[in-house]
C-alpha cells in the first residue's frame, strides 16, 4: 500500500496548472483533496508519473449565486457546502448542503473537493448526481482557454468525463433552482458510497408538480436521469399516489446491464423504488433544511 514512484509539483494559478500538465504529459494528474486519488495510488490502481497539486491555487474556493445560477469553485470542500447557511444556497438549491452530509466521513468531507468529485465522476457521487439534477454546466480551463460543458455531455462512462487531457475543472454551475428537492441514499454503513441514491427536485404551483428532475445513482455507469418519471410527474398532483407511480417508473429504469453489478440489479431496483418514493414525499414536505442523517429509513 505504498504508491509507485511519482514526481510532485505545486501550482499557484490555474494557468500554471494547465502549463504544467502540458509539460508533464498525459500520465500527470491533478491532486485536489486526494480523497479518491491517493487511495487509488496506494493500491497502485493509479500510477501517475507526476502530481500537480492545485491546493495552493487561490480563487477556486467559493459558492456564489448569480441570478438563477449557483457557481461552486472547484476547490470548495464538501464540508463548506455542508455548513453553508447562505440564503443564496438554501433558496432553490437546498439539496446541496443536505446532500453533502452523505459524503463519506468528516475527514473526507473536510479535504475532498466539489471539483475533484465532478472530475472523478463516480456514478454514486452526490455532486455528480446533483450536477445532473440541476442541469449544471462544468467550466474547464485547457491549453486554449476555458470552455463550458453541459452535464449531460460531461459524464461519459464509469469514472470518465468529457474533459480533455490537461484540462482543469474551474467551476460547476448549478442551474434551474427549485423550491422542493432532496437526495436520499442507502448504504449498509453510514458514510459508505451509496448502493443506490435518488435525487429529486421540483416546484409545486396550484397543487401541481412542475419542472421535475429525477436522477438515480449507483444503477448505471453515470448518474441516470429518469425522463419517464419526470414526464409523468409534470402537472401531476403531489401525493402518495403520484409518488408511488413515479417510484415504479424509477425502478423500471433500473434494467439488467445498466448497473455496475448486474448480479443484484433486482435488489437495486427494489431499493430505487423505495428511495424514490421516500425522496418525493420528503421533498414535498418542504425544503430540506439541515436534516438528521438516517439511511433509507
Amino acid at each position: 500500500m505504498k504508491p509507485a514512484p511519482f514526481e510532485y509539483h505545486r501550482a499557484y494559478t490555474p494557468k500554471e496548472v494547465t502549463e504544467l500538465l502540458l509539460e508533464l504529459g498525459e500520465d500527470a494528474k491533478i491532486l485536489a483533496g486526494g480523497q479518491s486519488l491517493v487511495p487509488m495510488m496506494n493500491f497502485r490502481l493509479a500510477r501517475p508519473t507526476a502530481l500537480v497539486d492545485i491546493n495552493p491555487v487561490s480563487g477556486l474556493d467559493y459558492i456564489r449565486r448569480d441570478g438563477d445560477v449557483l457557481r461552486v469553485g472547484a476547490l470548495t470542500r464538501h464540508r463548506s457546502v455542508e455548513l453553508s447557511t447562505e440564503p443564496d444556497v438554501h433558496n432553490g438549491f437546498s439539496v446541496l448542503p443536505g446532500a453533502a452530509r452523505w459524503i463519506g466521513h468528516f475527514p473526507i468531507r473536510s479535504r475532498g473537493t466539489v471539483g475533484g468529485s465532478i472530475a472523478h465522476a463516480d456514478p454514486t457521487a452526490e455532486w455528480c448526481l446533483l450536477a445532473r439534477l440541476y442541469d449544471a454546466e462544468i467550466v474547464v480551463l485547457g491549453e486554449h482557454g476555458t470552455r463550458t460543458v453541459p452535464s449531460d455531455e460531461w459524464f461519459t462512462g464509469f469514472l470518465t468525463t468529457a474533459a480533455l487531457p490537461g484540462e482543469l475543472v474551474l467551476e460547476t454551475r448549478f442551474r434551474r433552482p427549485r423550491r422542493h428537492g432532496t437526495l436520499l441514499e442507502y448504504a449498509r454503513r453510514r458514510g459508505d458510497f451509496a448502493i443506490a441514491a435518488v435525487a429529486v427536485a421540483f416546484d409545486i404551483t396550484d397543487n401541481r408538480c412542475h419542472d421535475v428532475s429525477m436522477v438515480l445513482g449507483g444503477v448505471a455507469n453515470e448518474p441516470l436521469r429518469v425522463p419517464e418519471a419526470e414526464a409523468y410527474l409534470e402537472g401531476a398532483e403531489p401525493g402518495e399516489r403520484a409518488w408511488a407511480e413515479a417510484a415504479r417508473l424509477a425502478a423500471e429504469a433500473v434494467t439488467p446491464g445498466t448497473g455496475p453489478d448486474d448480479g443484484d440489479h433486482g435488489y437495486r431496483r427494489h431499493l430505487v423504488g423505495t428511495l424514490a418514493r421516500r425522496a418525493l414525499a420528503e421533498a414535498q414536505a418542504g425544503p430540506a433544511g439541515p436534516r438528521p442523517r438516517g439511511g433509507a429509513s
Binding site: M1, K2, A4, P5, F43, R44, Y186, R188, R189, R190, G191, D192, F193, I195, A244, A247, R248, A250, A251, E252, P256, D262, G263, D264, H265, G266, Y267, R269, H270, L271, V272, G273, T274, L275, R277, R278, G295, A296, S297
Partner: protein, 770 residues
C-alpha cells in the same frame, strides 16, 4: 489499602497508550534496517513453473530476494492445538510455496530492500509463471478434500429421535469472516552476531510457543531467541499465531546479518491472517410434545481454506463440543467434515466455533418453539440445566480436557436478563413500533462459554529497590487490560495500590514458561499463577521482616505495603524497600546459603476449564424498503464468577458485541468464481463503525464463583461475541415474522429474500413497495 480485586481500577496501560508512549512492533527501529515485502500468489490454485527474481534483484536499493529454493527443504508450520485422532499430514502450510499455490495471498517470495517503498516496487518485478488449476471454493460441494472427519457425542440418539413427538430440522450457514485488529501485524527483528540469535519485537498471544517453533525451524537453541513484550492494537485470536512471516523475518535477519522490519498492510492482512467462521450446519432436534429436548444432531461442513494452520482442527471441534450449550440434552451426536478450499486458511477468531454453533442451535430452538406453538423463552427455560444438576459431565473431550460444566445457575441468569429487559421497557418499545407499522423484533440467545484453559501458566513476582512489586507473567497484552488485572490480583497480596505494581507480559527471557493470552484464559490461569507467586513473596517479606523486627513471623502482619508487629501501632514498621534492602547480598539478615532478593516463581496448573454462561437480548428494526437491519437495543447478561475489574469485564463484553454485530450483519470475505478475494479493503470488508453498534446494557453476574481456580473467576474475553449472531438472527426473524433465519450475515438481500420481497436477481418488481 482497600482490596484491589473487584474495583473499577482505571487501566494502567492507558497512560502510555493515550500519551503516545506505547511501543508497537513497528515502533522499534534499528540503524541499517532492511524492509521486507512478501510476494504473494495472485491466483487461487496453480502450479508454479518459474519465479524469476533477476529484475527485482537488479533494482537499486534491493538487498535480497528469496524464494522457497533458498530455504531449507519443505519447511512447514506445525500445529499448536492438536485434536486427538486427526492428522493434517501434507496439509500444513509451507513457509514459502514452491510447486503449488493454493490461495490468493500465499507467500511465494520475499524482497528485502533499503526502504519499504523500494521493497514494494521491487516485489512487483518478481515474475511469476503459474499454470492455473481449477479452484475449489465450496466445502461440501461433492468434490471435497476432507482433511478431518470426526464426531463427538453421547447417549442413544437413534432412540431419542425414534420416539420423539416432534423433530425440527434447520440448515444454517455462517459466512467466512474474522478478527480484524486495527493494527496489522508487524515484526522487527534484530540480529545478534555474538550468538547468532535474534531479538524479536512484535510477537503477541503465544510467544513461548512461537519461540519453540522458531528454534526448531531455525535449528538453534531456544535461549538465543528473545521475544520482547510490545503493545498490540488488538489480537482477537488471529494475531500472534505462527505465520510464514514469523519464520521469514527472523530467518532473513540471520541471513543478512542485519535488522529486518516487516509491516503488514491492510490489503495483505485481509488475505494473510487466519480467516474463520465459515460453516454449514444441518441440525435436527428431537423434542417431546411439551418442548423437552430428547436428542440433538448436527452435521457440519467446515471450510478451512487452503491449509491446516496452527489451530489444527480445533475450531470445528469446539463447535461440536459446545453445541449442546447450557441445556439438558440427553443424547447428542455431532459430526464435522473439515474441507480444504482454495481460500485463505482458517484459525480461531474470538469465540471460535461457538459463535457459529450458538447461532445455529439457538435458531433451531426458535424454530422448534414456533413449530410447537410455544413461547421461545418457555422452551428454553424448560430445557436449561438447573443448579442441582451441576456439575454436569458430558462424555466428551474438548481442547484435550474433560467436559465438566462446573457450578452455575442458568435459569437465574435468564431471569435476571429478562427482568432487566422488562425494566428497560423493550417489549413495549417493540409493541409501540409495531403498532406504527414498523418491523421491530426482539431477539434472545442463551449460550455456554468455556474459559480458563490450562494446563498451566507461570508467573514471577519480585520486590524492587524502591519497594515496587514487579510481575513477569506468561500472559500477553493485546489491549485487553491484562496488565491492570494482574496488578490488582498481586496488589492485594501486599496491600498496595496498583500504582505500586509493574507488570511485564510476554517477554520470553523474563518469563520463559508463559503460555500466552487466548481462549479467555489469562485472568483465570495467569492470574492464579501471579497470585501464587505474590503470596510466596509476601510470605518471604513477612519472614524476613520479622527477622529484622526481632519478632516471631506469626506476630507480624503485612498490610498497606508495610510489615509491622501485629497490634503494636507505635512499633517500628518496615516498608517494602526496607525489606528489599534486608534481602540484598551482604545483608546481616540473610542466613548462610539463603538466596538474596525477594522473588518467587509460581506455576499454576489446572486440568479442567471453567464454563461461563450468558444471554444476549436485542431489539432490531428491519426496513422492508432497503432490507437494512438496525440494532436498536442490546443487552448482555454474563456470569463471570468473580469480576477482578468490572469495568474491564464490561469493556470486553461491549467490544465483543461490536464484533458480533459485525459478524451478524456486515462482515464477510467474499470470493469470485475464480477464487479472487473480493474484500481486500475496508470499502469491501465492512467493519461495523460507531454508527452501527448500539449502546450495550450489561448485567454482570457474580452469582456462581468458579470452583477451578482460587480467584473464583471465569474468563470474559469472548462472551460478548458468542451469542451475538444468534440474538440478532432471532430478533430479525421475530421482526419479519419468520420462525428462523437460515444463515448469516443478515444482509439486505437475504433479509428481503426472507421477507419474500425480492426473490432473485431478475424476479423483483417495484410493485408492492411498502
Amino acid at each position: 489499602m482497600t482490596e484491589q480485586i473487584g474495583r473499577r481500577v482505571p487501566r494502567k496501560e492507558d497512560r502510555r497508550l493515550l500519551a503516545g508512549h506505547a511501543r508497537f512492533g513497528a515502533d522499534v527501529q534499528f540503524p541499517r534496517m532492511a524492509h521486507v515485502r512478501v510476494v504473494r500468489s495472485p491466483v487461487a490454485h496453480g502450479t508454479v513453473s518459474r519465479i524469476a527474481t533477476e529484475a527485482a534483484r537488479a533494482q537499486p536499493g534491493v538487498i535480497d530476494v528469496v524464494t522457497a529454493e533458498d530455504l531449507p527443504a519443505d519447511l512447514r508450520i506445525p500445529v499448536r492445538l492438536h485434536v486427538e485422532g486427526t492428522d493434517p499430514g501434507e496439509r500444513l502450510q509451507p513457509v514459502l510455496a514452491s510447486h503449488t499455490v493454493r490461495y490468493v495471498g500465499e507467500p511465494l517470495a520475499v524482497v528485502a530492500a533499503e526502504d519499504a517503498y523500494l521493497a514494494e516496487d521491487a516485489a512487483e518485478l518478481v515474475e511469476l509463471e503459474i499454470d492455473e488449476l481449477p479452484a475449489r471454493l465450496d466445502a461440501g460441494s461433492g468434490d471435497d478434500e476432507v482433511v478431518a472427519d470426526f464426531g463427538l457425542g453421547y447417549g442413544d440418539v437413534e432412540s431419542a429421535f425414534a420416539g420423539a413427538a416432534h423433530v425440527a430440522r434447520l440448515e444454517f450457514s455462517v459466512q467466512r469472516h474474522s478478527g480484524v485488529p486495527l493494527e496489522p501485524r508487524a515484526l522487527t527483528v534484530d540480529y545478534v552476531p555474538a550468538t547468532g540469535g535474534v531479538e524479536i519485537f512484535g510477537a503477541t498471544k503465544v510467544p513461548g510457543f512461537n519461540r519453540r517453533v522458531l528454534a526448531q525451524l531455525l535449528d538453534v537453541d531456544e535461549s538465543v531467541i528473545h521475544l520482547h513484550a510490545v503493545d498490540a492494537g488488538g489480537g482477537f485470536g488471529v494475531r500472534g499465531e505462527f505465520y510464514p512471516e514469523d519464520f521469514l523475518v527472523p530467518w532473513l535477519a540471520r541471513r543478512l546479518r542485519r535488522p529486518v522490519s516487516w509491516v503488514e498492510d491492510r490489503a495483505e492482512h485481509l488475505v494473510a491472517v487466519n480467516h474463520s467462521r465459515q460453516q454449514r450446519h444441518r441440525l435436527e432436534v428431537a423434542a417431546a410434545g411439551d418442548g423437552t429436548i430428547l436428542g440433538l444432531r448436527d452435521d457440519v461442513w467446515h471450510d478451512n481454506g487452503a491449509y491446516v494452520r496452527t489451530h489444527g482442527v480445533i475450531v470445528p471441534e469446539l463447535t461440536l463440543s459446545m453445541l449442546p450449550g447450557p441445556y439438558r440434552v440427553p443424547a447428542y451426536s455431532g459430526r464435522v467434515r473439515v474441507a480444504l478450499t482454495n481460500k485463505t486458511p482458517c484459525g480461531t477468531y474470538r469465540a471460535p466455533g461457538r459463535f457459529e454453533g450458538t447461532a445455529a442451535r439457538e435458531q433451531l430452538l426458535d424454530l422448534v418453539a414456533a413449530e410447537l406453538g410455544m413461547d421461545r423463552v418457555e422452551l428454553r427455560r424448560r430445557n436449561l440445566l438447573t443448579p442441582g444438576e451441576l456439575p454436569h459431565t458430558r462424555a466428551m473431550h474438548t481442547l484435550g480436557t474433560e467436559l465438566v460444566l462446573d457450578s452455575g445457575d442458568y435459569p437465574r441468569l435468564l431471569d435476571r436478563a429478562l427482568d432487566t429487559v422488562d425494566e428497560l421497557g423493550w417489549r413495549e418499545l417493540v409493541a409501540r413500533g409495531r403498532a406504527q407499522g414498523r418491523l421491530l423484533g426482539l431477539g434472545l440467545s442463551l449460550f455456554l462459554e468455556k474459559s480458563g484453559l490450562g494446563p498451566h501458566d507461570t508467573a514471577d513476582v519480585e520486590i524492587t529497590s524502591t519497594g515496587r512489586v514487579r510481575v513477569h507473567s506468561g500472559g500477553t497484552s493485546l489491549g485487553q487490560g491484562i496488565e491492570t488485572v494482574l496488578a490488582q490480583i498481586v496488589a492485594d497480596e501486599f496491600g498496595v495500590s496498583v500504582d505500586r505494581v509493574d507488570v511485564v507480559n510476554g517477554d520470553t527471557t523474563l518469563q520463559p514458561f508463559g503460555t500466552g493470552s487466548w481462549a479467555s484464559r489469562s485472568t483465570v490461569v495467569a492470574g492464579s499463577a501471579v497470585r501464587g507467586a505474590g503470596r510466596a513473596v509476601a510470605l518471604r517479606v513477612r519472614e524476613l521482616g520479622a527477622e529484622v523486627l526481632e519478632a516471631a513471623p506469626e506476630d507480624v502482619e503485612l498490610a498497606d505495603g508495610v510489615v509491622r508487629v501485629r497490634g503494636a501501632a507505635t512499633a517500628r514498621a518496615l516498608d517494602l524497600a526496607e525489606v528489599w534492602l534486608a534481602a540484598q547480598p551482604g545483608s546481616p539478615w540473610l542466613r548462610d546459603g539463603e538466596p538474596a532478593g525477594l522473588s518467587a516463581r509460581h506455576r499454576f496448573a489446572v486440568d479442567r476449564m471453567t464454563y461461563p454462561y450468558g444471554a444476549h437480548v436485542c431489539v432490531v428494526e428491519v426496513d422492508p424498503g432497503s432490507g437494512g437491519v438496525t440494532v436498536l437495543r442490546y443487552l448482555v447478561a454474563y456470569e463471570v464468577g468473580r469480576a477482578v475489574n468490572p469495568a474491564l469485564v464490561e469493556g470486553q463484553l461491549r467490544g465483543g458485541v461490536a464484533q458480533g454485530v459485525g459478524g451478524a450483519l456486515l462482515e464477510e470475505f467474499r470470493y469470485d468464481e475464480s477464487g479472487q478475494p473480493q474484500c481486500t479493503t475496508f470499502m469491501d470488508y465492512l467493519m461495523p463503525t460507531a454508527s452501527e453498534v448500539p449502546a450495550v446494557e450489561i448485567v454482570l453476574c457474580e452469582d456462581a464463583p468458579a470452583t477451578t481456580n482460587p480467584l473464583g473467576a471465569r474468563g470474559a474475553g469472548e462472551g460478548g461475541l458468542t451469542g451475538a449472531g444468534a440474538a440478532v438472527a432471532s430478533a430479525v426473524s421475530d421482526a419479519i415474522g419468520r420462525p428462523a433465519m437460515t444463515g448469516l450475515p443478515l444482509d439486505p438481500g437475504s433479509v428481503l429474500a426472507a421477507l419474500g420481497t425480492v426473490t432473485g436477481p431478475a424476479a423483483a418488481s417495484a410493485d408492492g413497495i411498502p
